[in-house]
Symmetry: D2
Subunit: 350 residues, 4 copies
């Protein structure tokens, strides 16, 4: 931490700051400039709050030098974290595609979608059973019934399941059915929930809050990691800005920035990222070209009749085209797209 | 809802939209313009999702006409909702001041603060026992021990208690000790939590999420109201913008806008709203001048040693000055500031 | 400036940075922490670009310590700057109200409005002759004809005139007619224009850009000041955020923050700040309660027929009420509102 | 335009609105819903201001149906506009790369950079002679001397020149030297400047303002187009959001959205878009994968000694790698990258 004293700070004020630093178990290094004195605080600053120190008399500002997260940082763990779920490896050379409807609506709908996204090339099935909806008058999800339908779809297709969990008490139930626990954007800073999923051994897909900085996303991951669950993947899904022609603003920059700052896999959600089905494929291509390790895409057999998020859902046909395009872009950046196991397909066909 | 057809929409496409409207139990009204056909959908549109309708062939856009919330709206309930807690009436003519530390730290700290804010003119004591913190390495609150200390402070001073609840399973515990349940900004869209506090009979202080629109705040309130708990007050506490010289951007506009759209009381939190102690009083004055029904202010006996939020906490002396200033501004806009019951003071002195 | 070296920076890299600092005419102060070495750069850093230094090998980050503006800062000039225009003093104890239509439309309109706002208590008349409009199909202002009408209104009422100038080549013309030159929000970073008004001896009303930080506003003022024109007042007029229920988000915080950082007068524009006429008065009261030195308010004799900005314009009746309210709030915060000279009124009445 | 009446609007109020519509030369279509009456206004609404109509008594809201721009829209001109500058065609099948330093600093610097970017594969040389800088204490560009050096670089390499013009009176001078006139982000709504470049016959590169919506960008283009200059290309260069780990937030979504809404070519500026040199290549790849028609990239022979924007400038080596990567991504999306004419290279080598 760096403490910048005011231009007219007295020797007594400076002395007091130095004393406080020593009392806190740190060492101080003083540097007298032309206009101001600057004090470096030496020691592990992650437990210091710069704002607090800016209150001392004579202090103008206190600034952090180190990043506030540790377990999530590249410095702590240089190699990419690869999350292994059977044959599916997330965060390695292959790009992993997760797809499915916003909400699980019925057995027919989820089975048809699962089959279709598998044929197109997805290896993980997404689908919401517990749905966070802005209005209490909107469909809130099928609950456990939805989880059971997802499990049936897994059995039928061999696809892995990712689905959202919304509160700590739902964690055991959702973890019973799901292969990956999704934390939604609205819950990125729901700390009891982050701790609860951190205590499971299920991989976690952590979505960036709609007004969360990259640093806050990494601190949210740190909550999960600090409970001993190291299988966390981060998901860029668009942030909230002044622009309203699209539902959110997909933050492409976040992809290379995250790949530099952290060892955790980075997934892109182009469906929420742009919010308009006709633009999902270009955004997906862009995300993969910029280095994303995976995609999360909303697909529905009949978007105009979807119970939620129809406007950003692809038909199976459009999703098939998206996968074909993404395969080519992945090759252009030296990667491949993970393919579903052919054995499973034959089982399903049987 | 209004459906705008594309310029080249065919008669068949228009017919199909009309059929869908009828199938959904609504009536359609068609208007043929020079460049486009526009269809009005007649009926209670709160259960319609415009995005969904924009997917139909030939449709360019679908727009909502009505506001998506009902119970929270002025149209539903014209008179101001006044929440009565003994002598304290929130949402009426009087302005109610709530003050106290960010976190409950110790018996001495909370009692001293309670006494001080009461003397200055607060009628409700704030203080966090469960703390949502951005970093897992920051102090996370004393938990139930903190709630007990708040209850002791209430006993000693007669002040009412407002404190935050962070997850559905904490609700019974917090409701046992607190007079008002606070939903923090990060949990404004934590729907299981909103439902849980909606099932209690405790008044709820609902803070606006840091990137939530006024409409989303009202929809979050609608979750609580729709569970049967009508005692909800809304709190403007600053939103996240590009500006970083302050911690948040206090949205002054939201105060008169909310007073127009809803009957619920509107509280201002100038401490989080600006995030720098030296600017809390001007923002508090501004909020009251613009029509706020109450203030939520962070006060700490020794901000430089506070365990959290010291940089935005006032000393008791500065808080006393703030109350004096607010009393004058309240008078200028034709209101008064609620004063603590003198009887209580004598009890405490005994 | 502070330079933070990477954890693994080599002695050679550190040596190279030290050499560069010396070559640039500065002194270096080195501080070796547990994880990183930090280098303080001693000297006037205003001409240094931290980003540039972050490129040197082994450097993690370079951070500014001083603020990048000088002439605009309180450190440079401790006392409030008071701009004197005859009897009107802007930036002193009195609050100055400027009012008038968005656009000058006709002789009748501007004279009627001038008369009305003077009667209500304004001392300066605003009105646009050159109008920056988002669409090329909107009314673009009367140009010089509008300036002449403003001058007539001044003659008739004794009010001073503030009006916008949009390009460097318009400056002599506008300065010929106007008492105060307004730089609009869209031109806050139009540097040739800032320099051009800096070369005149006319006071300048500088509006904050809709996505400009407080620091950028002060740097824009610095452009004008550095040309020798010290008569600059800053205007908060709302910033652009995700919120759309209002036209802009009025940044109340900016008022006390600016009063702390700079000696220049701070004016509030509640009309653009909220963009809806029914909320202009509450925002105006809030701004004055928080310390604004003046108000800029849009008033039109017939808002529903205004050629621009009708939705945020007050009728003379509503403006009269606003002034009455603001007078009371001003008193509550120990200030008074400047009144128009009574002599002028009699002249006009004659 | 759609006018939504208040629930309690009287027959007289509705009648008055209908009369006003007729008086304005439009036709009205009335639709009575369960809670509200809705009036459709039939005719070319581009000259109507919905805000104005929302002021009429009994009106709750007025909403636009058509987009407010015309010449820039796909509806007006279905085919892509292709801007032809000799062999370089912008907006067609080929992707065009423009590169060079932020500022022209010296003859050696600009010639070396021009040579290097040409060898790497750029066909247009960028470089600033007039520089808009946030601080008056920063380097402001070489002015006409810089333009002359750019012209020399063109002569030496055959590259076309794009450079910024900052005020209407500079337009003839800059147009004398430059092949393409750049309007910077800070000047996107500098309407006298937009008109001035609209009166030339030089192609215009129009950068999106840092807080401008896509619609405002198209309206700014409309200013240029409406003066008769149809050779406009739009440039996404990052917008301002709450995120600060990067200089700006590159709005990837804007690329496919613009390609849908307008026929004008869309260029991406990944250098400003992310602001950190190490992330420029991934963002460039993403932009091309999403459909950009060209790139604008900052390249400097010695970024650590650049006079401006060094932190986001690539070395020639890194730029060469970027071009190689972009060539592969372009192929993956069915396009090619325009190559510099080999004849020119031999001339230069001579």
């Amino acid at each position: 931490m760096i403490i910048v004293m005011k231009p007219n700070a007295s020797a007594k004020q400076i002395g007091h700051v130095l004393q406080r630093i020593e009392d806190a178990g740190f060492r101080a290094h003083i540097s007298r400039g032309e206009e101001r004195t600057v004090i470096g605080v030496i020691g592990d600053e992650r437990h210091l709050d710069p704002d607090q120190w800016s209150l001392l008399e004579g202090v103008e500002r206190a600034m952090r030098v180190l990043r506030p997260y540790k377990l999530a940082s590249r410095e702590f763990h240089r190699e990419n974290t690869v999350i292994e779920l059977g044959d599916v490896h997330i965060g390695g050379d292959q790009i992993v595609i997760m797809a499915g409807p916003c909400s699980v609506e019925s057995k027919e709908q989820i089975l048809a979608t699962a089959q279709a996204v598998k044929e197109a090339g997805a290896v993980i099935l997404r689908g919401g059973a517990f749905k966070p909806r802005t209005s209490p008058y909107s469909f809130q999800g099928l609950g456990e019934e939805g989880l059971k339908l997802l499990a049936e779809a897994r059995e039928a297709t061999g696809l892995l399941i990712v689905t959202e969990v919304m509160s700590p008490d739902q964690v055991p139930l959702v973890a019973h059915y799901a292969d990956i626990l999704q934390i939604g954007a609205r819950n990125m800073q729901n700390y009891p929930l982050l701790r609860a999923v951190g205590e499971t051994n299920r991989p976690v897909l952590l979505k960036r809050g709609m007004s969360s900085t990259v640093e806050e996303l990494l601190l949210a991951a740190e909550y999960v990691l600090s409970q001993g669950n190291y299988q966390v993947m981060l998901c860029e899904r668009g942030i909230r800005t002044f622009e309203r022609v699209t539902r959110n603003t997909f933050d492409l920059n976040a992809i290379p920035v995250l790949k530099e700052l952290t060892h955790l896999p980075v997934i892109a959600d182009p469906s929420h990222g742009v919010g308009l089905w006709q633009h999902v494929a270009p955004v997906a291509r862009g995300a993969v070209a910029a280095g994303a390790d995976g995609l999360l895409v909303e697909v529905h057999p009949d978007p105009a009749n979807a119970w939620s998020d129809g406007a950003q859902s692809l038909t199976p046909e459009n999703f098939t085209r998206l996968v074909e395009e993404v395969v080519r872009v992945a090759e252009a950046v030296g990667r491949t797209v993970a393919r579903p196991a052919p054995a499973d397909t034959s089982t399903v066909a049987a």
